[in-house]
């Protein structure tokens, strides 16, 4: 079987965690299939990154050029298409991140290679690729196979395969860029950092987080009051920010903040993976949701399957009682 390729993802000079997850996945697959893993690093000023990566793949293919300082789907696509056409890898692994999301379908379509996205796991049996992925708001898993072909592209969801250390010594191949002219039709301008709000939810010991289940903005004061009673701050999941009910700096999840409080109370949050990655490191998680199969209950320590508007007032009065008893 031909090589497995994994694309190194970096941003603002640092290798991102997904890279090590992709390389772990790639090493395991290569070992089973008796083939080699090649890490592809497109960057600028790559010496430090090469050091960080060389134990994690059999081969490290490096193109160091200013063109790759920041991610640009178009320059990456031109470059990777050239590499893939020359090397004919069996499988190309890319992160299902803002980066891979932008790149994979275009790259694979250009080369007419079957691809699939946002996978939790990849298996190879007799040169057939089978992936596990989620559908229907993360409430069901699916097994999906890809149309038979000599090559495949798969994007892997962040956090689905824990990164492991490697003990390989990569052969390092440096190449020249195949990009002769920088594309005019898409240009990176700048990064814009998130605005800093008045409350930093990443510093709080207790976060009371609210989701779609709170129904209406008019219910927020009740929940804010509950957060105050518990001694915490109010956070939320994406739909609450999308609706304009709370500012972006309160959002917990992959496109918002990652929090690690002592206690996280999730109210009316079903637990899409984008939310889970932002809060799963909390010491204790309590979830309240009406749907007994909500994915949040797979992450929580304690769950209540009921209407949050019944639970919140009852719990609040118990906490007040306990406080008063304590004096």
């Amino acid at each position: 079987m031909n090589d497995i390729l994994a694309l190194v993802e970096h941003r603002q000079g640092a290798i991102r965690d997904i890279t090590y997850e992709l390389l772990t996945c790639g090493r395991k697959l290569a070992e089973k299939q008796n083939t080699k893993l090649t890490a592809v690093l497109l960057g600028h000023g790559t010496d430090k990154m090469i050091e960080q990566l060389k134990s994690k793949a059999h081969r490290l293919l490096v193109i160091d050029n200013e063109l790759y300082k920041e991610f640009n789907a178009e320059t990456y696509q031109i470059t990777l298409a050239d590499i893939i056409q020359k090397q004919n890898p069996f499988l190309i692994l890319i992160g299902h991140t803002a980066f891979g999301w932008d790149l994979c379908p275009a790259l694979a379509t250009q080369l007419r290679i079957p691809f699939t996205t946002d996978c939790l796991d990849v298996e190879i049996t007799d040169s057939i690729i089978k992936v596990t992925r989620q559908m229907f708001d993360g409430k069901l898993n699916a097994h999906v196979t890809l149309r038979e072909h000599p090559s495949y592209v798969v994007t892997l969801r962040s956090g689905s395969i824990p990164a492991e250390d490697g003990n390989l010594t990569a052969e390092i191949n440096k190449m020249e860029t195949p990009v002769t002219v920088e594309p005019e039709y898409r240009k990176f301008i700048e990064y814009i950092e998130a605005a800093i709000g008045e409350v930093d939810i990443t510093k709080a010991d207790i976060v009371v987080s609210v989701g779609r289940g709170i129904k209406d903005q008019s219910n927020l004061p009740l929940l804010e009051d509950f957060a105050n009673t518990v001694g915490g701050v109010l956070g939320c999941s994406r739909p609450v920010v999308d609706a304009g009910w709370l500012p972006k700096d309160r959002q917990v999840g992959s496109s918002g903040k990652t929090v690690k409080p002592k206690l996280y109370i999730a109210l009316g949050i079903s637990g899409a993976f984008q939310h889970i990655v932002g809060m799963k490191a909390a010491d204790t998680i309590i979830a309240v949701n009406k749907d007994p199969n909500a994915p949040i209950f797979n992450e929580a320590d304690y769950g209540i399957v009921d209407d949050l508007f019944k639970v919140v007032p009852a719990l609040k009065s118990k906490i007040v009682e306990l406080r008063q008893a304590k004096g």
Partner: protein, 257 residues
């Protein structure tokens, strides 16, 4: 400015229980409501806002069963000029790649400045159609867009990256953007507008209008199943008084009260 918006009608599963049917390849739908995919409603709104600012024609396209025409009618009521349904019943099993190829056959002969799609459909969650369609049409794209400004023949867009970071970039029109939720505040259609839209034509196109001989499927759905249970929460039961006593007890024990 001529804009095409591609939308999908999906079951609303965020707040509902979802169960696999006996074929293991679909879900039990009879107790679910259907509506326009969430990010598509933002894509449609963004297109309406641009049309209000710059004029031009707004066309909404959807590949789906006949019920999709209800969804398209709401889009007409909100401000779309034309609506086209591609008959899903003519094309068999679909994935992101196949959907994009069908849309390409329809769109390649139409004049447009921008194409919008939602950034992800909540049912199959592939996030493939937009970028694949852009590649097939040979136009630039940007995904997970949270802001668009059009100046002459360029769009200046913000893309949402991880951790609250945004990427500001420039793309030359015609281009395709996949729109992230929260970019705007989608309007509701007024009753009068809905009544007016009831009289508008929705074009339905099938395999006689859209050649499908060379269209392929990448992904074959083998089975749907309930995810394996990981570290399952301890579910507290009893009366509300008992539950809240237990919970506050746990919080006290952990030194959180």
């Amino acid at each position: 400015m001529d804009i095409i918006v591609c939308v999908k009608r999906v079951p609303q599963t965020a707040e509902a229980e979802v169960k696999v049917d006996s074929s293991k390849k679909d879900i039990i739908k009879d107790r679910l409501t259907f509506d326009m995919n969430e990010s598509d409603t933002y894509a449609l709104e963004e297109a309406i806002l641009l049309k209000e600012k710059y004029g031009g024609t707004l066309t909404v396209v959807s590949l789906g069963p006949v019920e999709t025409e209800d969804t398209l009618r709401i889009a007409l009521a909100k401000g779309a000029d034309h609506a086209i349904r591609i008959k899903a019943e003519d094309f068999g099993e679909l994935d992101g790649y196949k959907t994009a190829q069908i849309l390409k056959e329809l769109i390649e002969d139409v004049k447009y400045d921008l194409i919008f799609t939602g950034c992800m459909a909540t049912d199959d969650a592939y996030s493939q159609v937009g970028v694949t369609l852009a590649e097939l049409l040979g136009i630039p794209h940007a995904t997970m867009v949270t802001k668009i400004e059009v100046v002459d023949n360029k769009a200046y867009v913000h893309r949402e990256l991880e951790g609250g970071l945004l990427e500001h970039l420039e793309i030359v029109l015609p281009a395709l953007c996949t729109i992230q939720t929260g970019i705007n505040d989608p309007r509701y259609a007024s009753l009068i507008a809905i009544r007016r839209a009831a009289k508008k034509e929705i074009k339905a196109l099938g395999k006689s209008e859209i050649p499908s001989e060379n269209i392929t499927l990448n992904s074959i759905l083998e089975e749907l199943f309930t995810p394996p249970v990981g570290k399952r929460a301890e579910i507290l039961t009893g009366s509300m008084d008992e539950i809240s006593t237990k919970l506050s007890g746990i919080m006290k024990e952990k030194g959180l009260i």
